[in-house]
């Protein structure tokens, strides 16, 4: 796999997760307390750094064949989840991911909780917990994607760089705007990430199980567009099926 494709896949996936985490931190800071939200953000980043430091060497120590089978299976299951939700959203059978709406809901929920202020780094425990949980949960997906892609391609530093770049770009934009990044084409990005995760999961999973792809790595050049076209065709088919008013709770929406 080309270094460029690896970088783009990890960057897109991580940017999507970072946009979601930024919305939660902004809501925690605005509705509750900025110091607590910032402390929660830093604590979650520290926890993610420790998880990466522990899992990173472990992933790279696994023999390549076994790694490809294990990681390929996980990526394929994970990717199909993303793609399934993206197809349902694109065809009108699931509510589109709307950062503004999620932000407003989080603000309302956070504002409704009583405030018990204390001195110190965490004046408001609710704001801290909200930011910490949001960043940790979204960040775990970033760590998972960066480590699996990087480990399989023997390019963990490049995958980590793509993840850090994505998080920095989104964090700087979020801080500059002090508003949810609603203009980011999140639903389209999720669709693209779903296609990439599913394609690479298919390729590595089958290879790890002992299959030999015609054309070796070049098979990915067929696999990625073929899966993208198949997904677009499914969106077209599902659009013909009457969709109920999308009622999914946007806050509970995952990837």
């Amino acid at each position: 796999m080309g270094a460029g494709a690896l970088f783009i896949a990890v960057f897109l996936a991580c940017a999507v997760e970072a946009v979601e985490a930024t919305t939660i931190v902004l809501a925690a800071g605005t509705a509750r307390d900025w110091r607590s939200a910032t402390t929660g953000l830093i604590a979650a980043l520290a926890a993610l750094a420790i998880i990466t430091a522990v899992l990173g060497p472990a992933v790279t120590a696994i023999p390549l064949q076994a790694l490809r089978l294990f990681v390929g299976a996980l990526l394929l299951i994970f990717g199909l989840q993303w793609l399934r939700k993206a197809i349902l959203r694109a065809s009108g059978h699931k509510a589109l991911h709307d950062e503004q709406k999620i932000y407003r809901t989080q603000l309302t929920l956070a504002s409704a909780e009583p405030v018990h202020r204390r001195a110190g780094l965490v004046p408001d425990a609710y704001g801290f917990t909200l930011a910490f949980k949001g960043v940790l949960l979204e960040g775990l997906e970033v760590v998972f994607i960066a480590l699996t892609f990087g480990g399989n391609a023997h390019e963990v530093p490049l995958a980590a760089l793509a993840a850090v770049c994505a998080v920095l770009v989104v964090a700087v934009a979020g801080l500059a705007l002090r508003a949810p990044l609603a203009r980011v084409p999140e639903n389209t990005m999720k669709f693209a990430v779903g296609v990439m995760l599913t394609s690479f999961g298919t390729f590595w999973g089958a290879e790890g199980a002992g299959a030999r792809w015609p054309g070796s790595d070049a098979a990915l050049l067929v696999l990625v567009p073929a899966i993208a076209l198949f997904a677009i065709a499914l969106v077209g088919l599902l659009r013909r099926t009457p969709a109920p008013a999308a009622t999914a709770d946007p806050v509970a929406e995952g990837s």
Partner: protein, 67 residues
């Protein structure tokens, strides 16, 4: 014990997600690929893509029907 259970539920939701049949199908496809490649000694690359074009529409159809 409660924390262990909560972690298990989180891990399940994180990896398996909304439709466990997809995960089972993927596992079965990879086992089938292994058997075809190692025991039967035939080209096995097509099995996972073939499974994918079956699993995804079925899972989507179930999701649409549930609404």
């Amino acid at each position: 014990m409660r924390q262990l259970r909560a972690f298990g539920l989180f891990a399940y939701d994180f990896v398996i997600g909304d439709d466990w049949r997809v995960a089972v199908g993927v596992a079965a496809g990879l086992v089938g690929t292994y058997l075809l490649a190692h025991d039967a000694g035939v080209a096995a690359w097509w099995l996972v893509p073939a499974l994918l074009v079956t699993l995804l529409p079925v899972s989507l159809w179930r999701a649409v029907r549930r609404h």
